[in-house]
Symmetry: C2
Subunit: 190 residues, 2 copies
Amino acid sequence: MKNRKEQIVNTATTFIKKYGYDSFSYKDLSESIGITKATIHHHFPKKEDLGLTVCEQIRVKIFLAAEKKISQLNTPKEKLEYVMNKFLTEIEKGEICPISSLQAEYNILPNSMKEMVANLSEKENTYLCEILKEGLADGSFQFSGSPRSMAIMIIAAYKGSLQYSRTMDDNIVNIVLEQIYKQIIKDHKA
Amino acid sequence: MKNRKEQIVNTATTFIKKYGYDSFSYKDLSESIGITKATIHHHFPKKEDLGLTVCEQIRVKIFLAAEKKISQLNTPKEKLEYVMNKFLTEIEKGEICPISSLQAEYNILPNSMKEMVANLSEKENTYLCEILKEGLADGSFQFSGSPRSMAIMIIAAYKGSLQYSRTMDDNIVNIVLEQIYKQIIKDHKA
DNA sequence: GTCTATACAAAGATAGAC
DNA sequence: GTCTATCTTTGTATAGAC
């Protein structure tokens, strides 16, 4: 992706994490980047095109990158901690997970974006599920219920806590993270 | 609250749960209810007024009502199950918790609404926290970590799962609910 | 690839009649 | 309390020059 194009996508991603897809405009982008609206329309004729590219970039830059990195790590514990921390490094203060943001607005998204969001949601669950299964198999994790239901719960709790961190001054995200570790890692201590 | 006024507030609440605060318009409301935009402006001059009334109605109709009902129940287990189920009865298919929806859009809300949303977020956590403490005290619940962190995790997981249910055809919410019960209720069986 | 100018529709809001 | 009419601003999008 060319520089300018990538710059627009990155700014749009930040706006989605901060304000949501429906709540940012090409004017917001143009002022933040320092170009005109028309220029952005040149690169992404419709907002839907831009939204789709944001989704595609999440898939490639976050998911594929994480997948590769995870395969190089040795223990399930390392993998879990990598995934959880990696996730947080992508989110600044006042932002939430872009996938959560798009899920919250799901009903107003164009169909093409709905499809991408559903796909990303399923993928992140699958990845975590694999790690949990590995941990159960080698005895480093311990929990009741299926890996799939546990994976959903962990992801939902983690991202939900991010949303709560907007209104509660506490360090809620880390509190929840600790709580998660306590519940599934056998020898975990805070 | 008068009939028409309440009808407007109820419709607005549904729209927030479905589409989000920023994504519904007075036009949407007017068409859904069958009155003109001007009439809605008569009852709620600014959208902010309507948004605030929606928040206030959640506080009174959901929170105060739940508080009263909970005080009449006997065991922590009953109270927990009541709260969790009560919550779900308020949410139709394709909707999410209105507080979650407002949290997701937090950065674009007027200050008055930010305050209300922060208040509601704190309140729901406090209520659940009290129930968890009771359950720990009488031995019916069992978990590691503080009641406060557990309460945050449960709420975050529960509401997060609602967002996921938009994109995953599974009965995710019930799966997560079961997972929660398994982890804190001593003698729980699916 | 970027700009100015412009079109068009939608959103929030108000004035004034009934 | 509800309507018609109108205003203003914003959002999305296009045309055409440089």
